[in-house]
Symmetry: D2
Subunit: 488 residues, 4 copies
């Protein structure tokens, strides 16, 4: 079999964003803290990034397309002075210049300035936007975060503080949002009532830090304090930190389970659970549910490695690093423009053939989406001489799209919607294939009392999906272009 | 005398913008037409530029800091497909990243998309913005053009077409604006009731083109049709072109006279008058009002040359090109960071010493603002050996700031506000000095029936200046930063 | 304890270069093959890279400072047409613009063009250069590769083919060189008589490929054929491939042992030995020589991981991925310009604290050079709560500088030259410390019959070091600047 | 008639280079002086530029493709410390990356370092290079300046100082060269025995400055001292300045007459003659030789303007600036990739139609090369309504190629070689056409005792042209690529 050239540009899922913010006591530079924090969150978004700082209410910011190390340098960071900051990384899509969609969004409203960094996806953004337009609003981006800004600005007219406006906004917007809001005097961290996306709080001397993942606290030297709770509003200003918990009725706690499986860093702790341990646990469960006689357990780098260590631990089969990943290949990989046929090139991933030859291999990956990667991995191992290849997947089959901020595609593209496990096994050319059972998800997180969202596996969505959102599911925001009316 | 290093970075005045738009019949590519048009208008703004195209109502655009040749290339232009386009060049200020303020502004409102390119300055923008904020509006830029967008979006809710919304908007906004508005189906060109800024219409086969100056029509091969009239709205759509003239009461026609003196290109015709002829005429008037015995007439390149030719023609004194300008020195001139003393360096302008030595020279420049250039020019000529230097200025003394879109500074900085002509003559070291008399301005434009604004010379402002605008006079837009409230 | 900000910018050793070349049969594009090959060799040099192609003897090339993905794009690769190519990656030093030193070197000489890609360091380059200068030679770079070009050009005058000239050159130059030479009609691969640096040969249909490491063959789809032997000259032209082995007397085979320990990729095979297996073997030896009771074995990413797996395998202590590396931090890491104190930030490496807390940890790293990293690793683990930290090093102590192409520094900087193991243990704060014994190096490579150079550990240098080379040991080439005579 | 899109990308001739050097007494920074000097010489070369500084014999340099303002910034200039410097601008060709050919060339030879900046073209470079190759030399560029370096390095072995080596070199090389040579302790300025290219000397306090044109002295504040004489070697070191005049036999003084006509700046003085005055004189001569009744005299900007002023002065016909040049269009002008037909666009040059309409116009340009511009100018004026167009050319017809450093093409491309004046007049559509008579060239330079080369007009070449040079006439250096031998 011959591979196409870009075989191992792994079909992946993408988180939409990461956020990081700080209210400094003067012992830490907000812009540099954000820089370190964003570096630690870079895996959550590689399209664009930005930092907005507030210097006594005067905002300065810098944002651009590209990685954190490409967008920022000493000169820029030194120019971003202030006492507090919010910052953002956004996920990398293919195609056009969408700098307008980079965050933080910075705007002026009746009470001064507002800077917003947002992770998640609203499920009623289109409806709200339509309503605002009917009252004369104009929009300069295609992201739902601008809708949030508008609602806050409007609600601010009806109440006495920006935190009250945020609380009122939370009664209007629906869906997933972990939000950092910077007003002239306050830094406000918000997590939606379901708690779809993670958000935690740290401390550095008397500075307060908020980040999508605890690993970002480590990166700026802050100590982990606690997770922001679903439905909670944490306000930091010169008087210190305080919390509000508006009443949202009975909302199911629903952290995205895929944060543990794939999105988050191994060294993060989310809602009381170690990501690394959860992944190892998934490996252990797979070892129990799908045991096999084999010579080694191998993880597909990087996301399959933790589960492979767990599988090895449980099964006693030795763990080996038999596939090597080239860390110099990033977003810019070049394919030949000529349509020349290339033999099975191993550019991104390369097996250690002499280790694999004649061996029975258990290979572990985090998920199967469209099915275009799995057979390449199996073929690569077989070409390297593996006697048997047993594929284990540390998540259940994807059956449903996600409306809360990840890019799990529509059902038509999901291989598990259109094929049985047997068919997928056959297509993958593996000697056996085992998915993590849906019913083991709770066990994966060590039966911790964490409510989670498994809508992509079960179709049980914790928050209602509007008809427009259902139709408009699309990467990168609301379905703007179809929405173009022809004025007359 | 010793000069500082950047002697001849001529203190200049700057127009704020140039606009160019096209509704194509298919025989001309809108993006390339805009590229040519913007190149021809580059002198009106070197800070940033942008092109927005509409492809059946779907907008694509590209804008960035920099010159037209830096911001655009074939790949970008080829990607901008559509049937119509609006585009913009913005003037170069020092300092920070202000990409957010680049134009055209592109936004979505209740009726689809709206793209706006704006030349001029509103005099009641702050008041309108405050009012909009009181009703929940948010602002993402610091330019008054965003205010115009908002008002159009609001007015659109109350009427039946975008052109009606534009007409209603013109009853709300005050000051200077030559405006191109692109809705999903229409290209609309607007000139404020006073006609402060120029705007003309051209034709290329059945395509309609609008530009700040007629030279930009030449640059894309279009034929000049006519100027857009003050207070006129010209609408182009698939049915052709039509005009609206809302009633604005009795508004004085008030084209900025400084367009003839300095801003516009020599090869443009504005409101029926040739810019080149007006400048030559200014030279002729100076020759009559301030005759002198001399050996040659020299213009300070480039803006003084036309008037110098006119002075030579009227006086019979030979015209000479005795000062050479280095055209490779642009915005990026570097000064030594060491504080070393440099002798009178002639980098930007260099006199032809052997031509000047022992001669009586009439030297003509377009204006004196702060007075920092004039003595350098005189000293340069004297050092080159000139026996006498007679300075003639092809405009009257600047006495008042401009609120309609040029950066004439506050009175404190204007040398003519603080010194008599005699004092200025003495400061300049010239043997004589003559300004164009205010009362000759009409003669300068050959007594053409053109109403003009000479507020900067006379203090007679044709449109009312609000108190906020008066205080807020500042480069680059509204005085936003002082405006930062502290929310609580 | 407080760390400085850039704690974990790991003090590393650097290989000077990687080379890749191809003589194509027409079924593979040489420029794209080089691109893939260089990507696979990027770990050997991140300073600059280049590709030279020969199209019927007409050379075109592109080289620049930066990573392979930064220097090349489709447009450039498509412009590099030809039948054969040589290419190069060079190691990243700090500081000045040294594009002149980028390779391949391309030059014209009496027989047409010559392109050279060179990995290694000559030990008599200065002497040869002096001699050439005495006869009128001029030099445009500071690298010894230019000396090789000169010698080939001179020798070519005395013999009948370029390969003969290369063979004669090998009698003149001394030290380490794996060399690819491209003449108008031939691709020539050369390895010095000691075989200090690796070089292997692969095949893709009837195309011949040469690379510093076998992993680069995988990356372009070529099959491994064999290593180029020490002292061998392999010539490929349209008549196929042939080999020359000039007589060099009795030269000890001396492959750099540090290729196995650190430089090469885990998935490469060098001179018949798997790098991954050698590293695991080092871990196993350490487990036997320095056993300890512990709860987990952890590798310092990436280079300590293979040995950690081996240690775990031999000792039965579980392997854990308890330190996470941020792969987005490259060469461009920014330190704050303010001298603010930062608490122990974990930006590049971050421990999974909840895994480590209260545990006895065996931590494995590949080497200790100056000793500035080891105590940071130990402190990081102790701060994360480790009860005991047992450091194991998968190489012997560095006692001597390297003159053959790696940047092991002078003895004054090597911690093991100035401290006993006990002192180093104490400085590192580890509970125990064990180095791989020098006498186990042969066991590390599974007692394979590979002659190796362990000069950096033993001071036994296989090739003579001239006095000038001894004095001139320095990064980036010959000690040129001190060499500036003052002409008179 | 319809024009192609790039009508007025004027077919021009190009000088190959400009040089600038300084030996500082400490009161002026050499790098910044070079920066200013190169800016003033930018018209002589826009392809690449570079500055090399010598700090007590240690060379640092920076060179790159692009304009002076693009290649240098404060950071780079501040890093270039030293007591003396040489610098260079090179002319802009289309196509490939030829950074290797940028100057100054910096090399190491037996006596330390040598930096060379060269303006001109050798006529026996190929022969010398062949000879050097036969003795083992290698070449890394395709420019003849590298040949000069080699010869100096070789000759230095045979004598006692670098200036003696330069003197000996001048006996070997033939053709055009104005040369700046920087050795560890000396700055040496050289002009070939014919004096083809200009070179002058200035003084700034006790610093000595050398430049291709006197205008570059003005730009750094230096005073003009004198021209370097043909065949002269000027040496500056810490002991001051001295001159050598080796015996070259009877060499005809042969300054390129085209320096006066086109290459040099109007404000330069070359060998005692004002460029501006020479151009005006050419205009006066044309007025006498080809008088005509007309309403105005117009120069094609910029190079035709001086002669137009002279024509006007002599004829009494008024001078008008009736064609406007867009100074924002540089090298990067973009043509539409679509092959759409554009009407006569006036992007680079635009006539002031209302001035021209119905008028008889004398239009003056500096030269006609291929004839592709002249008819466009005439057509442009006629389309603008000119009643008559009388073309006057301020140089004689080009009949022969240039071998001394300008890119006058081969005879096949020269319109005057293949057409009579009558035919050219007809092709140009002008009502009359007059060239400056060859016999008036001496009158043009006011009968100054300047020997000049008019080989391009007469075929009388002052220095012998070798057969190889004759065949190899080509832009950018020696015809290297055809020269590729196939080694065997």
């Amino acid at each position: 079999m011959e591979f196409s050239f870009d075989n191992f540009a792994k079909e992946g899922l993408h988180e939409e964003c990461g956020v990081f913010g700080i209210f400094s006591d003067g012992t830490i530079n907000p812009a540099y803290a954000c820089y370190n924090g964003l570096l630690a969150l870079q895996h959550r978004g590689q399209e664009s990034c930005g930092i907005a700082v507030s210097d006594e209410g005067v905002i300065d910011y810098h944002k651009d397309m590209g990685l954190v190390t490409e967008v920022f340098n000493n000169k820029i960071l030194d120019s971003l002075n202030g006492q507090m900051a919010v910052s953002h990384v956004r996920y990398s899509t293919a195609g056009g210049s969408v700098l307008e969609n980079a965050q933080p969004l910075v705007m002026r409203y009746v009470k001064g300035t507002l800077s917003i960094a947002h992770n998640g996806n609203l499920t009623n953004a289109l409806e709200i936007r339509r309503g605002l337009e009917q009252r004369g609003a104009i929009f300069q981006t295609t992201i739902d975060s601008e809708v949030i800004c508008y609602v806050i600005a409007r609600e601010r007219l009806k109440c006495h503080s920006v935190e009250d406006a945020v609380a009122r906004t939370m009664q209007v917007i629906e869906g997933a949002y972990s939000l950092l809001v910077m007003s002239p005097r306050k830094l406000i961290a918000v997590r939606d009532p379901h708690g779809f996306r993670p958000l935690c709080m740290g401390k550095y001397n008397d500075s307060y830090v908020f980040a999508s993942e605890s690993a970002a606290l480590d990166a700026c030297g802050a100590e982990f304090v606690r997770d922001v709770e679903p439905g909670e509003i944490v306000i930091v200003d010169q008087n210190g930190v305080r919390s509000m918990k508006p009443d949202f009725g009975d909302k199911k706690k629903a952290l995205c389970i895929f944060e543990y499986i794939y999105f988050a860093r191994s060294d993060s702790f989310i809602d009381g659970v170690s990501v690394y341990e959860a992944r190892k646990q998934a490996g252990r469960i797979l070892a129990r549910k799908y045991p096999v006689e084999a010579d080694m357990v191998v993880g597909v780098p990087e996301s399959g490695i933790d589960a492979a260590i767990g599988y090895s631990e449980e099964s006693g089969i030795p763990y080996e690093k038999a596939i090597v990943k080239n860390s110099y290949i990033g977003r810019t990989f070049i394919k030949p423009s000529q349509k020349e046929r290339m033999k099975s090139v191993k550019i991104k991933l390369n097996p250690i053939a002499d280790k694999i030859k004649g061996k029975r291999v258990v290979i572990i990956d985090d998920s199967i989406v469209r099915g275009t990667t799995v057979d390449r991995i199996v073929t690569m191992l077989k070409e390297a001489g593996a006697k048997e290849v047993h594929m284990r997947i540390s998540s259940p089959p994807f059956m449903w799209p996600c409306y809360y901020g990840t890019d799990i595609p529509s059902r038509g593209e999901l291989i598990a919607c259109n094929h049985t496990i047997e068919e997928i096994t056959k297509l993958s050319k593996a000697d056996s294939l085992g998915y993590l059972p849906v019913e083991s998800l709770r066990e994966m997180i060590h039966n911790a009392p964490v409510g989670f969202c498994d809508g992509c596996f079960t179709g049980n969505y914790p928050a209602p999906i509007t008809k427009e959102t259902f139709k408009g599911k699309e990467r990168g925001g609301m379905n703007f272009d179809e929405n173009n009316k022809k004025d007359n």
